[in-house]
Symmetry: C2
Subunit: 241 residues, 2 copies
Amino acid sequence: MLSGARVFITGSSRGLGVEMVKQLCERSSPPSLIVATCRSPETAGRLQELSYKHSIIKILALDVDNLEEHERVKSEVEQITNKLDILINNAGVSPKATRINLVQPEQMTRTFHTNVVAPLFLTKTFLPLLQKSDESQSLIVNLSSILGSITENTKQGGLYPYRASKTALNAITRSLSIDLKHQNIGAITIHPGWVRTDMGGNNAPLSPEQSVRGVLSLVDSYNTSIHNGNFFDNLGDPLPW
Amino acid sequence: MLSGARVFITGSSRGLGVEMVKQLCERSSPPSLIVATCRSPETAGRLQELSYKHSIIKILALDVDNLEEHERVKSEVEQITNKLDILINNAGVSPKATRINLVQPEQMTRTFHTNVVAPLFLTKTFLPLLQKSDESQSLIVNLSSILGSITENTKQGGLYPYRASKTALNAITRSLSIDLKHQNIGAITIHPGWVRTDMGGNNAPLSPEQSVRGVLSLVDSYNTSIHNGNFFDNLGDPLPW
């Protein structure tokens, strides 16, 4: 799936995003284009460095939260290519202090906007390009979390904004997978593991390298009949809703 | 669970809400108090009529969307009672025209607010009263939908705002069930069936009477070890997330 593909990624300046860009470039059969977006390209040092080494990287400014920017970025992408094969909705937020006694309405609203509304409408904006993919199949990859699995929430509770948003992201991924199937556009949702990033913190068991290796391996081996509309961890094992 | 209970219901002017109030009053062992809330009591004819016949009904004005009103309504309830046994989050919305080509950001945001943020923060506001319940167990009942089951979304797709909101409501119900268990407060989420209401339309197979009979029977037979944190249909059968 990845070899020669035209890939679009959000949140590419740090964490899993920049690691995905890096590993994509370093593949023996890399993509032909990586549109790497982030809020502030001017301060995205690691991403800029990668782009000096790898000409397949095109960096564009995009704050996914600002839905008004989506069309502008689409126009910018269309100056480079009129088709995309893989859209990776990686940008996301995780607010702190969200036990029932601490959670605030604004946390619910903002987290839902960034983690659900933004990827849904970015996807909608880029559908015309995904529809033009030359591949037999194009793919929407939504970065979710096991914290969005209701089944797996048996002990810890809490985390209302993040859980609600990732569960909802899973729900819309399933609907996308059904609505777009006849256009040969698939949609999957992936838990990248608990990773040592700004979001995951220092105690997380996985390095970004390990997590992204698994995520990209899953994407590369995408198979509609197995994966479409489903939820996987970074080892490619299915997760329950 | 229902006999002698102090019950609080949102969205009680019509549909399933007013039918719940009616059937609660008509039970051979009715609740001792039903706080029936709706946006505009002055135009809630059926609810007003019921309250003339049944003195256990106290009608209060509440637009659940307006989180500022929650504390005011809590103060009004505290003038009647300092404890509640059952909180039924029934008020909800379902926007039309939400296929991928039609869905709008405002539909996502508004539906999430009414169906998820409002019940979560109403619940949070009323926790002090639920904590004072004399019953061995008090209960939060969230009216969800099978459309919030990702597992069951295998053919129809679409419905992004409603599915995302009801899936998220299921997720927060599970967290509430864990966070509040040690206070003997349970939380369940119920699919009332597809019902002939303003929301369900005329083609729905179930009458409000049939649906509510099942919902109340489930609530009445609530058993922590079987039901807490889980999702049921109006026949009391478990539904998958």
